[in-house]
């Protein structure tokens, strides 16, 4: 019974409030009026503020929506507030300058409800279309595009007429088309709008067009249907692209984890079960570096990974050198024993790290340049994944250069091809072995720096990668870096393509089974070494 009555009162009050409001020129007075009156008058007040067409009022409206707009009890002036300890800092509603800090008792919040919030959104959408900042205008156009509110058509037309920037204008045109589809314009206009929207493509357009197919006249619906089909087709292509990207990203992680193993296993025939722990040591080195930087040199935080890289290489490489000199060199020619001994070493390293750092996950932060995401067409590419792909390829290239262009690489290849002959030619094979192993371990260490950015840094970090890296090396073929690259990428992409059909776990199982079967067919992997050395 009461509701229609309230509504009537509201209608009666509306012109009373709106008229004087329109007459006033300074938006600050309008904002101050928000401290007066009850909730139901506020709709008119907000509309009055919006009617000024001055984008300066946007912060105040946003604050009102977020519940950050207060008025001082003493003189009823309105301020945007910000928490400042237990008190509130009062900011000027227009300029945003801090004016004073008061106890929270001295001010009162201006109440809002949901219908008001919607109204504010709309008002802000209109106001921000006129903003000086192009990015604000773009987001305003996007808001209108989402809502498709027919009432914003007029505003939009005005904005489009005034717009100079072509990219912003394009967004506004798109928003206008979306709005037109919601009005009762003629079929031709609507079809034109459908074409315009369809041209733009993308997932968010799809829902809009699907909505059109239900509500519009047959001609428009047909156009929309066609557009939907076409967009869906391109979307499927983008989806494939996205899956491939995910696969490449997973593949690059595998590559990083496996490439050091490819060196030790491929070149030396040594099964290093402690390889995963070398990765883990690299990740913990990153953690320690970041801790030191946080505590002592916070301004260097963005460079923490760059600092950690050589350190991780040194730590893991040093461990590898000790491991080779202390254990593995006594076991050459007994690969199965090497496997067991290095497994023992991996247990010791794990427990050592657990004793020193505790069993819980450690927080390793992302520097600024590694957070965020890029959008290319329908692809979403997160920065940290992109960096890891780039980094893994860089490591691969660097290792390739070391192997092919340096004297050390030459000696390493000589020992790989024919140990006895290399030894006869004066190459100190034990030292080549030791440094090869150190190199492989060091690469595992810098892989750890990269992996610390995307996975949990815990004592078990290495365990989760060791089996996968073995699979990559065995699949790609021992003693061949290209095999490792292609193996890693193939397994990564195959895994991601299987996931939608089979689920993550089953996809992994299928990959494992595939590799087991593949090894039967080609016991030496994709790119097997050919020649006399193969069959021992």
């Amino acid at each position: 019974m009461l509701k229609p009555f309230r509504f009537l009162v509201f209608l009666l009050l509306l012109p009373l409030l709106a008229l004087p409001a329109a007459a006033q020129s300074d938006p600050r007075d309008l904002i101050n009026e928000l401290s007066q009156g009850k909730l139901r008058q506020r709709i008119a007040q907000v509309e009055a503020i919006a009617a000024t067409g001055n984008s300066d009022v946007v912060p105040a409206l946003q604050a009102l929506k977020d519940g950050d707009l207060y008025f001082k009890k003493s003189d009823k002036t309105v301020y945007i507030t910000r928490k400042s300890g237990r008190d509130l800092a009062l900011l000027d509603p227009i300029t945003g300058e801090e004016i004073e800090v008061v106890a929270s008792g001295a001010v009162e919040k201006i109440k809002v409800n949901n219908s008001l919030r919607r109204l504010i959104d709309k008002a802000v959408g209109g106001l921000t279309l006129m903003s000086k900042d192009p990015s604000v205008r773009i987001s305003a156009a996007e808001t209108i595009f989402e809502s498709g509110d027919p009432e914003s058509l007029e505003l939009l037309d005005e904005a489009i007429a005034a717009e100079q920037d072509p990219t912003v204008r394009k967004k506004m045109d798109l928003a206008r088309a979306a709005v037109i589809l919601n009005t009762d314009a003629s079929d031709e206009t609507k079809i034109e709008a459908v074409d315009l929207v369809a041209e733009n493509g993308g997932r968010n357009v799809l829902n809009l067009l699907k909505g059109v197919t239900f509500n519009a006249s047959p001609a428009v619906a047909e156009a929309a249907n066609k557009a939907v089909e076409q967009i869906e087709r391109t979307l499927v292509l983008w989806d494939y692209g996205q899956t491939i990207w995910y696969g490449v990203s997973l593949g690059s992680v595998l590559l990083l984890a496996a490439i050091g193993l490819a060196v030790t296993f491929g070149v030396m025939g040594v099964i290093n079960m402690a390889h995963g722990e070398m990765v883990m040591l690299g990740a913990y080195t990153t953690f320690v570096v970041q801790e030191i930087i946080r505590n002592s040199f916070p301004e260097l935080f963005n460079y923490s990974l760059l600092i950690a890289l050589p350190l991780a290489f040194a730590v893991s490489g040093g461990c590898g050198l000790i491991l080779e000199r202390g254990v593995i060199r006594f076991l050459y020619g007994r690969p199965l024993e090497t496997l067991l001994a290095t497994w023992g070493v991996s247990l010791i390293l794990q427990q050592g790290v657990r004793t020193i750092f505790g069993p819980t996950n450690k927080e390793v932060g992302n520097p600024d340049w590694m957070s965020g995401a890029y959008e290319i067409g329908g692809l979403v590419i997160t920065a940290n994944r992109l960096w890891i792909v780039v980094f893994s390829l860089f490591v691969f290239a660097a290792l390739f250069v070391v192997l092919k262009k340096t004297p050390f690489g030459l000696q390493m290849r000589a020992v790989t091809q024919n140990r006895k002959m290399a030894s006869s030619m004066g190459i100190r094979t034990p030292w080549v072995d030791a440094f090869t192993f150190a190199l492989g371990s060091g690469i595992a260490g810098i892989a750890g720096v990269a992996l610390s950015q995307i996975s949990n840094v815990s004592p078990n970090l290495g365990q989760s990668y060791i089996i996968d890296s073995f699979m990559v090396v065995v699949f790609g073929g021992v003693g061949n870096l290209w095999g490792t690259l292609i193996g890693a990428m193939t397994l990564g992409v195959a895994n991601k393509f299987l996931e939608p059909f089979a689920g993550a776990v089953l996809a992994k199982i299928l990959i494992l089974v595939f590799i087991i079967l593949f090894i039967q067919k080609r016991p030496r992997g994709l790119f097997a070494l050919k020649g006399r050395a193969v069959e021992a």
Binding site: Y332, A341, G344, L506, I516
Partner: protein
């Protein structure tokens, strides 16, 4: 055919081992059940279940020794066969619960009711009968070993490659059994067993009987292994281990030799798992973890591979150590285990038994790791 096999198997040393195992199987339960609690020779209940566990581990290590010690196949997936045997037994025990489960469903185990399954999956049928479960305990691990070995040995996957793909096999099974959709209880596995063959599984007498059964199973397996090793076939086995290509050139079907011994070993591992499950009261996918399988390898290595007695001693010693250390210094155990891996491979390549019998100068084992094998492996490393 059978009698000469047994006679050959029961040479002097083997007879001693079997006699000791049988004696343990008889006297330990008596010491547990019949002797008064305050007697010096009384064995408490907790010790019985611990010893039962060790016996199952010893059987698993023995099975591994047969393939690794005598045929040179380092399987890093023997835990998978153990767990499969365990699951077969666990399924039987689950079906025995009947209406005593939490949900009281006469046919469906609790976890299936919980997952809203309407009927028993096909592979659960038959497990209400012990004889069927008993066959499956041998058949399932044996079949997996047969299929796996058939492919692997035929395409001459050897050495570390074989080790890595056995590890991949058990890892794949680990992932598979973690899935609820597989119908094996997912993460939680099978547990909450009530009785076995009509006897209460918690009762002292049942536990003692299970321990005795484990000892007997170990003794019988030991006899079988000993028989295989000492037969002509056993000589071929060692030949394959030491010089695979040469044996092939002599005309032996190397892949069949390996396949046979791999399947036998997998079945033994299955039996070990089946006896293990009722004694610890649970089987879950954790048993498939690659780390477990590698631990079995170290038991065998500590005791002495290629000796048959060694792995039994190694398994018991390492596990007694584990029980002691994990209780007394939990931080320390992984260090100790890791050091054991390194130390044994570096300083005790023949294990305890091999080294001790080497000291007495008894030529029970070839003295060196065969110089030819050595250089061959070196070349493999060089490649």
């Amino acid at each position: 055919m059978i009698t000469p096999f047994i006679i050959k198997a029961l040479d002097k040393k083997a007879s001693w081992v079997v006699a000791i195992l049988v004696a343990i199987a008889i006297f330990v339960p008596i010491a547990n059940l019949a002797l008064p609690r305050d007697s010096f020779f009384h064995i408490p209940n907790y010790a019985i279940s611990l010893m039962g566990k060790y016996t199952c581990y010893a059987l698993l290590a023995l099975a591994l020794d047969l393939v690794w010690g005598y045929c040179g196949i380092l399987s890093l997936g023997h835990g998978a066969f153990f767990a499969l045997g365990g699951y077969a037994m666990g399924m039987y025990l689950m079906r025995q619960i009947g209406t005593r489960g939490v949900y009281g469903d006469p046919v469906l185990p609790d976890f299936m009711v919980f997952l809203n399954w309407k009927e028993l999956p096909w592979f659960w049928h038959g497990f209400d009968m012990f004889w069927f479960a008993a066959i499956m305990i041998l058949f399932v691990p044996g079949l997996l070993a047969f299929v796996f070995g058939w492919f692997a040995f035929r395409s001459r996957v050897t050495g570390v490659y074989l080790s890595i793909i056995t590890q991949a096999m058990t890892y794949a099974l680990l992932l598979a059994f973690f899935r609820n959709e597989m119908g094996f209880g997912g993460n939680n596995g099978l547990t909450d067993f009530k009785d076995i063959l009509g006897f209460d599984i918690q009762a002292d007498t049942t536990r003692a009987a299970l321990f005795a059964a484990s000892c007997i199973a170990l003794a019988i397996s030991f006899l079988i292994c000993s028989g295989i090793v000492r037969s002509k076939f056993g000589k071929v086995l060692v030949a394959v281990r030491d010089a695979e290509s040469r044996s092939r050139f002599f005309g032996y079907r190397v892949e069949n030799v390996k396949l046979f011994v791999f399947v036998v070993s997998a079945m033994m591992a299955g039996v070990a798992g089946a006896l293990y499950v009722p004694q610890v009261g649970i089987i879950n996918p954790g048993e498939f973890a690659p780390a477990n399988s590698i631990e079995v390898v170290v038991w065998t290595a500590v005791g002495g591979r290629g000796t048959l007695v060694g792995p039994i001693i190694g398994a018991v010693l390492v596990n007694v150590g584990k029980t002691f250390f994990t209780a007394a210094f939990p931080e320390f155990w992984l260090f100790a285990l890791g050091a054991l891996f390194v130390g044994v491979t570096l300083f005790l390549p023949k294990g305890i038994v091999g080294s001790v019998s080497g000291l007495y100068g008894r030529a029970t084992k070839p003295r060196d790791e065969h110089p030819n094998l050595h250089s061959a492996a070196k070349e493999a490393a060089a490649e």
